[in-house]
Amino acid sequence: MIGVELSKLFRRPRTWLTLVLLDALPTVVAILLATTHLGPRPGQGPAFLSAVLTNGSLFAVAALAIVLPLFLPIAVAVVAGESVAGEAQSGTLRYLLIRPIGRTKLLVAKLISVFAFVMAAVVLVAGTGFVVGRLLLGHQPLSAAVSSVSGSQLTPAQIAFRTLLAVGYVGVSMLGVAAMALFLSTLTDSAQSATLGALAFLIGSSLLLTLDAATSLQPYLPTRYWLSFVDLFRDPMLLRNVERGIGLQAVYVAILLGAAWANFVTKDIKS
């Protein structure tokens, strides 16, 4: 069943188009940086963008930072919002359920395929960032040391390891949105509504983060620790916020998936 879901996801032309578009933005940024050499001053603009002009290897992380605030969550919300509601919309949901597939099993398969999409997207963005960065930006040899965010030097092995951690962390950060979109996807028969609902949740969270009056709420907002992967490039690594971020996502995922499950297994399938 999981194999079937994965093959359905990756046989869709739209999945690949989404992945290509996700990679397009960082690539455009890299081309602009390479031709103009106008990097943002340190501390401004997306994370790591000032550093990549000297070392292209860092563009893997920079690419993640570029797509993280908006592009990546949109892509995840589209795929997750589609997962159940899309099947309901096209009418295939009823035919899957009478094969029969247990409703819990179907939901788990959908969840795993959404997670696979998230990881594929993050790995692809980081990989593309690395290749584009090496080709277009900062031609330091691969073996050269890199300045950490704290100013000390990191060896290439350390950078590689921390980049992998960052890829994992960004993937985990997307799970809250994915769970929200999946939950909404079981509530409505319209994939678009589920996707837009999840995005509204996200935009609401981002908005409250900029509001001083909402300080007491901020530790619980799903996007609060998204950019904490930057802490992985401090020396030594600052894990406090990363751990909190993972914990927070886990809580959101548990609650929303529980709600999605409770709703879906007792729902009248009228689509």
Partner: protein, 302 residues
């Protein structure tokens, strides 16, 4: 094969189906007749465990539904409210996906079974084309192929000939009769009286959520004890049959008495020519209209 007792479904305060007692026996072709919105599709969905009943019990193939869905449904093929597929994939790929979902679809024999099914429903030439290029009739056939993939013991079909041309309807009817001959029980939900009349052995009629009749087609169409007569000499015939004529419509008379031969002798003895003579039988349409009209009279009276 299907037995429901007091099956009831309410959507909030609206009751879609109430107190339904269905009884579909093995080897039946059961026609489930009802107007649009009478509760047919809700019933079909409850039989398949898609919609959960408010009260009452459902037994399909001897097991309680939806509790035993995982043992019952692999033995059931169904078409619910029109076929549905992944439009960007080919007909073959769609059948493969549905076959791979749930138990009983052996991977080794899959492609052979798919080809056989496409052949059976007459789609072998277009099996590789994406479904979004299919006509409504072709989708309907593909839906039927998906329902038949596992050689089910029970077929539950909701409006199976929807969108088919007369030729296609004829082919599907032949296919269903053949399957039934080989032992498949068929539950056919339809609003088309003619379709049910031509195909089914037993009929249940649902009207506004309630079953108004459930009987064999032969019983429903049994002779009424009156004789239908057609003659060019209406006036003379009426005079001879004084008092026995129930109604007349042009050259047609409905006469009391179930013996056409006696009537024939009487008329011919008086020199009246007879075009047509036979026991009166009611069409399914008449039966259904009478039953549903009687109900609406009852409900409208305070």
């Amino acid at each position: 094969m299907i037995r429901t007792e007091g099956l009831t479904k309410r959507f909030r305060s609206v009751s879609a189906v109430s107190g339904l007692d269905l009884d579909v026996r093995a080897h039946d072709i059961y026609g489930f007749l009802g107007a649009n919105g009478s509760g047919k599709t809700t019933t079909v969905r409850m039989l398949l465990g898609l919609v959960l009943a408010t009260s009452g019990s459902i037994e399909v193939l001897g097991h309680q539904m939806p509790k035993a869905a995982s043992t019952v449904l692999p033995r059931v093929g169904a078409l619910v409210e029109g076929p549905a597929f992944y439009g960007h994939l080919s007909g073959q790929a769609n059948l493969a996906i549905f076959d791979a979902c749930g138990p009983a679809g052996s991977r080794r024999t899959r492609s052979a079974r798919i080809h056989e099914m496409l052949d059976t429903v007459g789609l072998s030439e277009v099996g590789r084309r994406p479904v979004k290029a299919y006509s409504l009739g072709m989708r309907q056939r593909l839906g039927l192929a998906a329902a038949l993939m596992r050689a089910p013991e029970l077929l539950i079909l909701d409006e199976p000939t929807n969108g088919l041309d007369p030729q296609g309807i004829h082919e599907i009817r032949r296919l269903l009769l053949e399957l039934n001959r080989l032992g498949t029980t068929i539950f056919l939900s339809s609003h088309l009286l003619a379709e049910v009349e031509q195909l089914c052995t037993r009929v249940g009629v649902i009207d506004r959520g309630r079953l108004v009749v459930q009987d064999s087609l032969a019983n429903l169409q049994a002779p009424t004890g009156r004789t239908m007569l057609s003659t060019p000499e209406v006036a003379t015939a009426m005079a001879i049959l004084n008092g026995r004529v129930v109604s007349s419509d042009g050259p047609r008379l409905i006469v009391q008495g179930a013996d056409p031969a006696e009537l024939n002798a009487l008329l011919v003895g008086h020199g009246v020519r007879v075009d047509e003579l036979g026991p009166e039988r009611r069409s399914l349409e008449q039966v259904v209209l009478e039953l549903t009209a009687a109900r609406s009279d009852n409900t409208e009276r305070p």
